[in-house]
Subunit: 215 residues, 2 copies
DNA sequence: TAGATTGTTAATCGATTAACAATC
DNA sequence: TAGATTGTTAATCGATTAACAATC
């Protein structure tokens, strides 16, 4: 069923549409035109219409878009109407932050397991999920239909752990380790490199400082 | 001094170059050609040369690039040779994760302060920095030459806190709150929206699942 | 029906890749 | 010098914006 490839640029914007539509919905707004939405979001109306039309015609001429409907549809596109079993490897502050992230469950991400190397954490529960030791990881993945693994461990361990997870059926890695993972191309890797984000910020603030230094 | 604007696409790639060059340096590699680097990083050699030449000619024909030199130069471009005073607002798990991020100091980011609303955290120290209450924030920012503020607080508070920080001299916001901040355009905002990152992952894994469902 | 606004095609803009002369 | 590889210009590709006919 020939589906044209959708660029990651478009996909990267969908969650932001979803967020704005959610807020509009909360605010009781029933319909919105691409033009009104473009003003709120500070993007062009053209881009909104182009982006949405990659997935189908969700609007109606002369009316605009029904907020609730569009919100639901984008949710479906993002796969938020389905459940996704997720585990977190590495229960440091960052791993715990993710585990405590409340919106998880409401969006269909089911926290199935937490893993760490620190024996003092064994059995400690976060959000009702007990922390397990790494030697249980492989069997757990095999037996619990785990789709997504968040990796919040040092880069020295990340590569081998990721390989093992994928070998045992994990389909996607949410990678917080400061390294690239080279995995089979059917595995989804979503990187969150905080240090790189901070360096980008550093570049921009430094550039700005230089350009405006005058005495 | 007419400086041509450099696209965020290029800037976004610099930290990755920096990381690879750092690893090469650790590995004792002295020089590298754009071609060799392109193979490791899985980008085109052309892109590497184009990207670098936005900032100057760092290589030498017939030789390639000196790893150590290029690493240092990219560090300078990213502003990592200068100190940046940073504070963290919101000392939950995520705020603590950032505070504990060791590489901070080595890259010139000086953690000056931690702030939270929770009175039970008052005075508790993370990495030697005591947690302060929010009512001290304004004066602290004014008196401590704070350049960057990391916001790891709920979105309901983020907008007003950001506005106050900027009013009192903060130049850049590292924004982890699930909201857009509209601030004067001379303020740098670097967003890290974890939920949006997870939704992107969700989209990709869902798409893949659908495309390969056959029985 | 008239007005509004989409869906979609065409035009523009920017980013990536290819090619090659310059040069170490 | 010959070989290697950059820096840079030109060609291509893709993404964004503009325009407008279709239609609610």
């Amino acid at each position: 069923m020939e589906r044209k490839e959708i660029s990651q640029a478009v996909i990267g914007r969908l969650p932001r549409y979803y967020r704005y539509l959610g807020e509009l919905m909360e605010g009781g707004v029933e319909r919105i035109s691409s033009n009104d939405l473009s003003k709120r979001m500070r993007v062009t109306a053209s881009q909104i219409r182009q982006d949405l039309n990659n997935f189908g015609g969700f609007g109606q001429q002369g009316y605009g878009y029904n907020v609730k409907y569009l919100y639901t549809e984008i949710g479906k596109i993002l796969g938020l109407d389905k459940n996704h079993n997720i585990i977190i490897i590495g229960v440091g502050n960052l791993g715990q932050a993710l585990a405590n992230y409340a919106a998880f469950e409401s969006r269909g991400f089911i926290l199935k397991g937490l893993f760490d190397v620190n024996p003092r954490l064994e059995g400690v529960a976060v959000r009702g999920v007990p922390i397990r030791m790494m030697d249980e990881l492989k069997d757990f993945v095999i037996n619990n239909d785990i789709e997504i693994a968040a990796l919040t461990i040092p880069k020295s361990k990340a590569i081998e752990v990721a390989a093992m997870l994928v070998e045992n059926g994990v389909k996607a890695i949410w990678n917080f380790a400061h390294t690239d993972l080279s995995l089979p191309e059917d595995v989804i890797v979503e990187n969150v490199h905080l240090s790189e984000s901070l360096m980008k910020l550093s570049y921009n603030v430094t550039r700005y400082r230089e350009e405006h230094e005058e005495e």
